[in-house]
């Protein structure tokens, strides 16, 4: 099939639709407004559910409700709106309800601005809401991945009964790129033995996170940790780019990884052996992939559109074996390939 | 001919059934049930008309009415 030139945000919608999305719930916020606008047309035309909610709180809780019945639902927003969705995310993690939440990040803190940013890393991978839980976090870096990863994220959410977040950024969301819409429309889905679909011919089910009896909540947390361990083992993903002989390895995700790749090409043209490990999943973090290349002679550089968040996980992964530097800009500022190249040169000295 | 039965061990002795009974034929037991309450009992079965007011007011759904 011929490729089609679309924005990352539209590719994301198409990925969700191909995955058999039953419902989209959203609230307007820049820079993800294409998503609810596109979905309002598509979902209604397909006879599926679309609700422009009264708030991000409500939208996320609508996802909770729909997914509790085994349906496929998603919501999208940008940073300030994602803060409001944390309540439902904590509940969904505790109640083990799958669902897909998209954050097309913008500058923060507070209302910030509407430029692309990567300052919500901590929020996405370290919790965000209350309690001892994890989201599965993907970081697409191009429109094609916005399509493919979104498509896949519904299966992964359901496989682990865990919410999945797509941590995108305003640039990947807004950028137009050719996309190969190569996925088959999903029409059949595994039966869910846990969902609420009416107690016909079976005992009633309840889905809850309130577990008051002695020791029950602790056991639930231990069970969740077991699941997280399995996810760590199965799902950590990274793209490796010219790392085999690299003396300087950049760790970068989303739009920063695209910028960094150009800098690596330029560095190689100048005879500097640079490479990149690009986390495709931010949680689970591709610790093993990084650990494998951590050697005393190798220098790591975390490049992010914030003032240093993922760099902490890179440090934990290299565990003192390699040096770890950081390059980033905040508040919607964008690191250029030249900035990255200069940093590589500086590290080479 | 009518009567009620009270699930002794679920009754919390709130007395709303006693208050609701138009024939005043329910009262508290002398004994205490296993959750610590003087439960409701039908004292005068011959007066019971099976109106179900006690059932309507029972917050613990522990009354059954026969007629």
């Amino acid at each position: 099939m011929a490729k089609k030139l679309v924005k990352g945000n539209i590719a994301l919608c198409e990925g969700a639709l191909a995955a058999g999305l039953d419902a989209y719930f959203g609230y307007p916020i820049t820079p993800q407004n294409e998503v609810p606008a596109y979905m309002s047309n598509k979902m209604v035309s397909l006879g599926k559910a679309f609700v422009q909610a009264e708030s991000e709180l409500a939208a996320a809780n609508m996802v909770l409700g729909a997914c509790a019945t085994g349906k496929r639902a998603m919501t999208s927003s940008s940073s300030p709106g994602i803060s409001l969705k944390q309540e439902a995310l904590s509940y969904m993690a505790g109640m083990e309800i799958p669902g897909v939440i998209v954050n097309v990040q913008r500058g923060g803190p507070g209302l910030g601005n509407i430029a692309g940013s990567q300052a919500d890393y901590f929020q996405a991978v370290k919790g965000g809401g209350h309690g001892d839980y994890h989201l599965i976090v993907f970081a697409p870096n191009c429109a094609q991945e916005m399509y493919e990863i979104t498509y896949e994220s519904f299966d992964i959410a359901e496989k682990y009964r865990n919410p999945v977040m797509l941590l995108c950024d305003g640039i990947v969301g807004q950028m137009m790129e050719p996309v190969d819409f190569n996925k088959e429309q999903k029409t059949s889905f595994a039966k869910k033995e846990w969902c609420l679909d009416g107690c016909k011919g079976r005992e009633p089910r309840s889905i809850k996170s309130l577990l008051m009896a002695d020791g029950v909540l602790e056991q639930h947390n231990l069970d969740l940790q077991k699941k997280y361990e399995l996810i760590r083992k199965n799902e950590a993903r990274a793209e490796l780019y010219q790392v085999e002989d690299a003396e300087i390895i950049i760790v970068s995700y989303g739009i920063s990884s695209r910028i960094s790749k150009n800098a690596i090409k330029a560095a190689r043209a100048n005879g500097i052996k640079a490479g990149m490990i690009r986390p495709v999943t931010l949680w689970p973090f591709p610790t093993e992939a990084i650990k494998k290349y951590a050697k005393p002679a190798v220098k790591f550089l975390s490049v992010e559109l914030c003032l240093g968040q993922m760099v902490e996980d890179v440090r934990l992964a290299v565990n003192g074996v390699s040096s770890v530097d950081f390059l980033g800009r905040a508040g919607g500022g964008i690191v250029s390939d030249k900035d990255v190249l200069n940093k590589i040169m500086e590290l080479k000295k | 001919m009518a009567k009620i039965t009270v699930n002794n061990n679920r009754c919390k002795g709130c007395g709303l059934c006693i208050n609701a009974c138009p024939k005043k034929c329910i009262s508290f037991s002398d004994e205490i049930n296993k959750i610590g309450y003087h439960y409701a009992v039908l004292k005068n079965e011959k007066d019971c008309i099976g109106c179900g007011f006690c059932y309507q007011m029972c917050p613990d759904v522990c009354i059954e009415v026969f007629r």
Partner: protein, 246 residues
């Protein structure tokens, strides 16, 4: 003699954990009877609130889910929009529905979601020990209004039924009470109608149940029901507030 009244099938056998004399148990039973009588138990999905009725899933004998505090209308919207063939209701207290969940309540009603809302108004936060609720009466002493609710300091009791009646999306709104048996029977009729409306696709139905909370009110059960009749209902008069389904 035949058994003419007993626990409905839609209630589980679990003992209710509410305080002695609490109105929740009566209201649970009325819902269960309505669900039984309409033959919809196997397609009903309940949304439990945060508050005293958070354990509703231990008592209702059909599918139930929890929702964050105030969000049952949003959760119910998500369920109903993706499962229009199911019967979906929320069971919410005054804090859940009229304070933290005001936005969700109003917009769910305004969208005219085809769901049923059972709103239990007992003029205080029961679960947390009797603090002021949005519906606390003027002058009423609670944990957090030790001098009585003063409108200059704490505002006025929110009349949610009247508020919602102004929205075109709402189809049936009635305020009922459970302080005595005849009113319980009337409350049952209203609750059943609210479910019947959903079965028939009539849209959003809202039943406000004025209920008693003896323990947190510092009253005996008998004093509590008397207080409902003599005081509570003066601020919250009973009756059909809106019905466009006729």
């Amino acid at each position: 003699m035949n058994k003419i009244l007993s626990k409905p099938e839609s209630l589980k056998d679990n003992p209710l954990s509410y305080c002695p004399g609490c109105g929740h148990g009566i209201i649970h039973r009325l819902i269960a009877e309505a669900v039984d009588e309409l033959g919809i138990r196997e397609k009903t999905i309940a949304v439990a609130p945060v508050g005293c009725a958070v354990f509703a899933y231990d008592y209702f004998n059909f599918d139930t889910t929890e929702a964050p505090h105030g969000r049952p209308p949003a959760v119910a919207t998500g369920i109903k929009r993706t499962n229009p063939d199911k019967i979906v209701f929320t069971y919410q207290g005054d804090g859940d529905l009229a304070a933290i969940g005001t936005a969700e309540t109003i917009h769910c009603a305004n969208r005219g979601e085809n769901i049923t809302v059972i709103f239990v108004n007992n003029a205080n936060y029961g679960m947390t020990g009797g603090q002021m609720a949005p519906t606390t009466l003027i002058g009423q002493v609670t944990e957090t209004t030790p001098f009585g609710r003063d409108p200059l300091r704490e505002g006025y009791p929110v009349k949610v039924s009247e508020l919602l009646a102004n929205l075109e999306g709402t189809k049936y709104i009635e305020r009922v009470t459970v302080f005595d048996a005849p009113h319980v029977i009337q409350a049952k009729k209203a609750i059943k109608k609210a479910f019947q409306n959903q079965v028939e696709g009539n849209g959003y139905s809202f039943i406000e149940v004025i209920s008693h909370c003896p323990v947190d009110w510092g009253k005996t059960p008998l004093e509590a029901v008397k207080w409902v009749e003599e005081v509570f209902l003066k601020t919250f008069p009973l009756g059909v507030i809106k019905d466009t389904t006729k």
